[in-house]
């Protein structure tokens, strides 16, 4: 302990990350998850010929693949993270890991880094290959922004790795882990917009006229989900035609890409930090 009482000892996170990544390469489940990411990306670049509109363009492909990934990456990220720490705790191997010069914080940070690195590898590989295929098939108009789209997707994936690992550190009960993993996917990806509308309606005493002209704060609230933030980032960086309501002239000035970046960073770090404070003092 240093003189700063709150300084967190992160010893050994590099070795944890390295070991975890090496072990993951031999775990079939993780390999399957990573392959799904790659195969979906590449598969879509070819399938776009059949499912896309009559006029096939690179931007249209980009629009389609980011929409697809915005549903798949949350699932992959959560599934990569959700058993990481809890499994080691349930089998007892975490005690062995901590008997090495590795701190608890180091263990969590290492796990987050390694799982995210795995997903980064899969997404980069998948998107690069599919981008190349798409460029050949549909032309290169708009390809300059493609690296930015990959970057935003990586940021988006970090949020769900954070949530997954956070859940994993919070509890060891199998039931709770499964429930909160599915719960967070359902809440953050599927029903968030519906939830915003529901809260708006409840506060306005079910006056349905309000839905025609919702107040400004609903936009901000909607943006708090990783998916909306991802879409807004894609809109502001790449110019894909999504999340139009945030960049419209009527949108309040305080809504912008910086909030979206902040939201994704918060979703990455907050579950991990919260989980860590429980984990720090947990009896293993």
């Amino acid at each position: 302990m240093s003189e700063w009482g709150w300084r967190i000892d992160t010893t050994g996170w590099q070795s944890v990350a390295r070991t975890d990544a090496r072990r993951a390469r031999r775990t079939p489940t993780i390999l399957v998850l990573l392959s799904i990411t790659i195969i979906t990306s590449i598969g879509y670049s070819i399938a776009y010929t059949y499912v896309g509109p009559s006029e096939l363009t690179f931007m249209g492909f980009l629009d389609g693949i980011t929409t697809l990934l915005s549903f798949i990456i949350p699932a992959i990220g959560l599934l990569l993270g959700y058993k990481s720490v809890a499994h080691a705790r349930n089998t007892g191997s975490i005690l062995l890991a901590l008997s090495f010069p590795q701190s608890r914080a180091g263990l969590i940070i290492g796990t987050v880094v390694s799982r995210w690195a795995l997903l980064v590898g899969a997404i980069s590989a998948g998107l690069t290959l599919s981008g190349a295929i798409a460029a050949i098939l549909y032309g290169t108009n708009g390809i300059v922004a493609y690296p930015l789209a990959i970057l935003m997707t990586l940021l988006y994936s970090a949020a769900f790795i954070g949530i997954g690992v956070g859940i994993s550190t919070l509890t060891t009960s199998e039931r709770w882990i499964t429930l909160s993993t599915f719960g967070s996917y359902f809440l953050l990806v599927i029903i968030w917009d519906g939830l915003t509308t529901a809260i708006l309606l409840i506060l306005h005493r079910f006056n349905f006229n309000i839905l025609a002209s919702p107040p400004d704060w609903t936009l901000l609230f909607q943006l708090l989900s990783p998916e909306s933030s991802y879409n807004l980032l894609l809109r502001s960086s790449v110019g894909i035609d999504v999340a139009g309501e945030y960049v419209a002239n009527t949108a309040p000035t305080y809504i912008g890409w910086w909030i979206a970046v902040g939201v994704l960073i918060i979703w990455t770090s907050l579950p991990v930090i919260f989980g860590f404070y429980r984990f720090q003092t947990a009896d293993l």
Binding site: L203, H204, R205, I210
Partner: protein
Amino acid sequence: MTSQWQQVARQDWSQAVEQRSVKVLLALPVVIILLSAYLYPVISQSPITTGRFGSFVRGLLRVVIPIVGVLLGYNAIVGDFESGSLLLMLSLPQRRRTIVFARYIARAGLLIIPTVIAVVAGAGLVVYPLGSFEPLSVVMLISIIAGFSATWVSVGVAASTLVATTRRALGLGFATVILFAIVWDTIENVLRGVLLSTDIISGRLPEPIQFVFALSPGNAFSTLITGFVDTTQEVTGAWYLSEWIAAIVLLAWVVGPLAIGVFRFERRDLQ
């Protein structure tokens, strides 16, 4: 010396918070306040203000807070007396009055804190999206509800110090609730009806008699809300019917029962 009552209060607080019955009990006023705040802008006529919300929620709180307050307080002392742990506690260097005060503060806080939070959240529900915000009225409403809650916990704790079994404490506490929260206004109405039908008075009761009936905590509470919270209403009548006198009445109801309880408890034979 000061830390002694804090220890007793903290221990009593943490024991009470864990009980499921206490949670249910405290949820009652919270739910009522929030539900009233939610429905008030829809049901009531305009203007919708936080001040008029005070008058809206008054009627329900006049019934609920006495019951919850007495139920929170009646077990404070007598439960430990029955089980014998009170004598053990008093073998520690603590005065009897310290224990009574500490437990009173713990239990009053237990009722006041969730209620205050509920009023703040309720004010938010009233203001957004239909109402207008009157900051002073919210502050006054919070203090008046806190005072009213403190009154009835005081009655409950006093009942707890005066008798030997929890059953009697409950009986005494509820007798007070029924007398002042239910029967009191009925007596007033009956008296007024009789006097009206015999043509002794026309309209309202004579003001001195009104003052006698205004002495109940519930009526003091209502007068305070009319006078300090609701900006569209005014307290009328002689000076002794004003809201300032009602504030003194309510204060007396906080201090009075507790003082009687402490005074008796200090002299009681607990063996």
